[in-house]
Amino acid sequence: MTVSFILNGDDVSAKVRSADRLSDLLRDQFGLLGVHSDCRCGRCGRCIVFLNGRLVPSCLVPAFKARAREIVTIEGFSQTQEYRDIADGFRESGMKTCGFCDGPKAMAAAALLERKPRPVAGEILEYMSIVPCRCTDPEALVRAVQAAAESKARRLYRRADK
């Protein structure tokens, strides 16, 4: 079957089988290799994408459910100001990630800051559990997300001042 959807801002169509996972569709047909497909059971968080604005593990979405929806992967998200805020915050806090999880962690942080502009430690750890990579200790993760919140708030205040 053919499904049409919006992928990183572009209208696209793809031939999919009912057996395909969305993560495999994005990698195989669109070459979006930032979407990893490791555990295929929603645990590793490395395949997360925004689906109609909500962060979801794309390995738990059948490809046919992309129909008429909007998908943003790390490739699309990394072009946004939102991503730059978070990357700035992570860098300012000195957090080091392993390279496998930095994109998904930035997406998880963005999803959290969208809902909670000033999250507390418990909320941060709950949200960042979406990407349970152990390369970063929890305290550093909390500092990094709070720095990202500051970075985003500074930009929004600057924009409001203008």
């Binding site: 057996a19 059971c41 962060l55 979801v56 738990l60 459910k65 129909r67 709950e126």
Partner: protein, 275 residues
């Protein structure tokens, strides 16, 4: 890998018509558990799949003075976003214990209750709250207490061919509640189970009490609950011990590891009534 025909009905009537014409079709909303349990690269689905995640009738939420009504295709995140003023605390806690926020953005309350392989996290809280589920099929609509979705053998007994469309949750006052999840949080395994307890006290007397436990099997501890109603609160040490024994007897069929955890959770719940 078998290819399935995937249908996207526009409304509930079309979905029911499809299900009538295609018995055995898989109803899919979030699909998280269906995909999670398969693990590998390709997904194996039945020949017919009916997608119901966008049916407007299944996505409504409504609040009256007496109950909260939630469409079965509402995601767990959407339900949590209803907030403290609308959502009974025991249900909010149960839903927040499901996996992680990204999975809760996909998983639906209907899928959580209609899973046929095992009981999922929402069942004990909904059972304690006396929630009822509307089941629709070609023959019409039936409202069924969520308790009755556990069969005589304590296994899931979701009726074949039925589509769960909404849940109605009474908004009664509960004076004490407890909810605990055992086993891994992010994925269900044989050890995973959820324990829920709620009690209401009127003029110093225990007037209502619920205790539910769900994992691969589920039960409401009806006999032990009935024995406790009418006792004065706080419970005496003797009453607590007797109640603890009655609850443990109800749960004698559980595997040893779960029975031990169940016993300690019952003790913690009874402690709430001993204060």
């Amino acid at each position: 890998m078998r290819t399935s025909d995937v249908h996207y009905p526009r409304d509930l009537a079309s979905a029911l018509d499809l299900l009538r014409k295609r018995p055995g079709a898989l109803v899919m909303a979030g699909g998280t558990e269906i995909l999670r349990e398969q693990g590998g690269r390709g997904i194996s689905l039945p020949p017919e799949v009916v997608c119901v995640h966008e049916l407007p009738e299944l996505r409504k939420a409504g609040l009256t003075e007496r109950f909260l009504e939630i469409g079965a295709a509402a995601t767990l995140s959407e339900i949590l976003e209803l907030g403290e003023s609308a959502l009974p605390p025991i249900l909010a806690e149960a839903l927040s214990l499901v996996a992680n926020p990204a999975i809760r953005n996909l998983a639906t309350i209907g899928g959580n209750i209609a899973c046929r392989a095992r009981f999922m996290d929402a069942w004990p809280a909904l059972a304690c709250l006396d929630a009822i589920a509307e089941l629709r099929d070609a023959g019409g609509s039936t409202w069924m207490n969520v308790n009755r979705l556990a069969g005589e053998d304590r296994r899931p007994a979701f009726p074949e061919g039925a589509l769960v469309t909404r849940f109605r949750i009474p908004l009664e006052r509960w004076d004490a509640y407890a909810l605990k999840k055992i086993g891994p949080k992010d994925y269900p395994d044989p050890e995973t189970a959820v324990f829920a307890f709620a009690a209401r006290v009127e003029k110093g007397i225990l007037s209502e009490m619920r205790l539910a436990f769900a994992g691969e099997t589920a039960f409401r501890s009806n006999a032990a609950e009935a024995r406790m109603i009418g006792l004065g609160v706080p419970l005496s040490e003797r009453e607590r011990e007797a109640a603890g024994e009655a609850f443990r007897a109800d749960a004698a069929f559980l595997p040893e590891a779960q029975a031990l955890r169940f016993g300690s959770l019952v003790d913690a719940a009874l402690d709430l009534l001993g204060r």
